[in-house]
């Protein structure tokens, strides 16, 4: 590759560097604003939340159960395994 064409590429790369970083910053800054709007919105209209919380709490309950379930399943698995071993 000729030095000339590399220099051209380097110039393009430098432009990409500036445009790219600029765009990333602008984009994520807009996203910051969006999240702040989102927070304001959710504080202003928690009216629909009664539905969400019930779902949320029932969900929160589920993982908790799930953990317990996992322990229980583990225990049962072990028991069944031991039982099968014993049966062979």
């Amino acid at each position: 590759m000729s030095a000339q064409s590399i220099n051209d590429l380097l110039f393009e790369a430098a432009t990409l560097l500036m445009v790219g970083m600029g765009f990333v910053f602008v984009f994520l800054t807009i996203l910051i604003a969006a999240v702040n709007l989102l927070k304001a919105f959710c504080e202003r209209f928690p009216g629909q939340e009664p539905q969400a919380p019930t779902r949320a709490s029932s969900k929160a309950a589920r993982p908790a159960q799930a953990n317990e379930d996992k322990n229980i399943v583990a225990a049962i698995t072990a028991a069944v395994h031991a039982h099968r071993q014993a049966n062979r």
């Binding site: 590429l9 990409l16 984009f27 807009i30 996203l31 702040n36 959710c42 939340e49 969400a52 949320a56």
Partner: protein, 376 residues
């Protein structure tokens, strides 16, 4: 005994080429790193094994009709596998810490400097004889600095499939090396006092905010960067599945069986790109070098940005958390926590570092979209 002659001719012994032997050693090295050193085993294990299979003479794994040929064409040439992985990762990601403190997005932005600076560096490497990177190649290499595996594989499959193997291996290797690469840079750029800063506890984030967040991210991506919507869209799809709470059975499958199945195949298919003719080149050395640089620059940029923000906010931010902006979830956040604890035994930065950490995932997906739009 003509049969014996045929049988001998059909052993590999008569057909091994040096490149294949070396590549099988590379595959074995990846297996070693995965199994013994615990380096990103979920990916490096199948990649290493795939590399070994690919380089077996006469076995034809990557010839049309071979197993790895099919897996690569169906899953990576099409771009489907990295997107499904991204969906699963989305379904495993909790944006709570980021929503509670959205300024952290700036750290996720700053750390992408590693990507774009590396792009420049890759082009500059062309001055060295033997290197011949196009802008597409350079972009695909630079994305290693995003510290995000599926993003790197997706972008490489679009821009520079021949380099995919080296890029994926570099990306996952450096992600595994984060605990070694980052701490010296973090310490060099911060004072002990800064490292001791404790941060205020994060506010509670409601389910509603978490549910609306992926939709907001998707909306902005649609408006400003459609070329990033395959990555960001599938990520937000997975995240919304998780947060909305009405499709739990789909979300659980996406986070477990589906992502596991795709991971096995993705790894093997990436490994199938580790053939001697594509990997044993000076370009691979360049890629490995550039990848290390990219991680370093990204880390430094994140820490410096955090330092700036710390100054501007009167010291309420610990600059260490900037290092988590490269993504490498959750390894980078854990490293931040560890370095923070070394400076101050009561300084638990893990949750605070999760914000920039997931912001880094979004940041590198956005950077990938910019590269696709401008270079692809």
């Amino acid at each position: 005994m003509e049969q014996l002659a045929i049988l001998w001719d059909s052993t590999a012994l008569a057909h091994f080429e040096l490149g294949q032997v070396i590549m099988m050693a590379v595959g074995a090295l990846l297996l070693y790193l995965a199994i013994v050193r615990g380096f990103e085993p979920l990916l490096l294990f199948p990649i290493g094994f795939g590399a070994i299979l690919t380089n077996i003479p006469l076995a034809g794994f990557t010839d049309p009709g071979g197993l790895l040929y099919y897996i690569y064409e169906v899953g990576i040439h099409s771009g489907v596998f990295p997107l499904l992985i991204f969906m699963g990762v989305g379904a495993m990601t909790d944006f709570g810490a980021l929503i509670a403190n959205p300024k952290m997005l700036l750290l996720g932005a700053a750390a992408q400097f590693g990507i774009f600076a590396t792009l420049f560096g890759a082009i500059a490497l062309n001055f060295i004889p033997g290197f011949d990177f196009t802008l597409k190649d350079a972009s695909a290499i630079a994305i290693i600095g995003g510290a995000d595996g599926p993003t790197a594989i997706f972008l490489a499959s679009r821009l520079s499939p021949d380099l995919l193997g080296a890029i994926a291996v570099a990306a996952y290797s450096y992600m595994a090396l984060v605990p070694i690469i980052q701490p010296p840079i973090m310490k060099a750029l911060t004072t002990p006092e800064e490292r001791k800063i404790e941060m205020a506890q994060l506010r509670h984030v409601s389910k509603k905010e978490k549910t609306l967040f992926p939709l907001g991210v998707l909306l902005l991506t649609i408006l400003f960067l459609p070329s990033a919507t395959p990555l960001v869209g599938m990520f937000c799809f997975g995240n919304l599945m998780k947060e909305c709470g009405v499709v739990d059975r789909l979300s659980k499958t996406a986070q477990n069986e589906l992502i596991n199945i795709v991971t096995i195949f993705l790894g093997l298919a990436v490994g199938s790109k580790l053939s001697a003719d594509k990997f044993l080149t000076v370009e691979t050395l360049g890629i490995l070098g550039l990848g290390a640089v990219a991680f370093g620059i990204g880390t430094a940029a994140g820490v410096l940005m955090a330092k700036l923000m710390s100054r501007l906010t009167g010291g309420s931010i610990n600059p260490l958390i900037g290092a988590a902006g490269v993504s490498a979830v959750p390894m980078a956040a854990r490293v931040v926590n560890k370095v923070g604890l070394e400076a101050n035994q009561h300084n638990f930065l893990l949750m605070h570092a999760m914000g920039p950490n997931v912001a880094g995932v979004l940041g590198s997906a956005v950077a990938a979209g910019v590269l696709l739009a401008l270079v692809g």
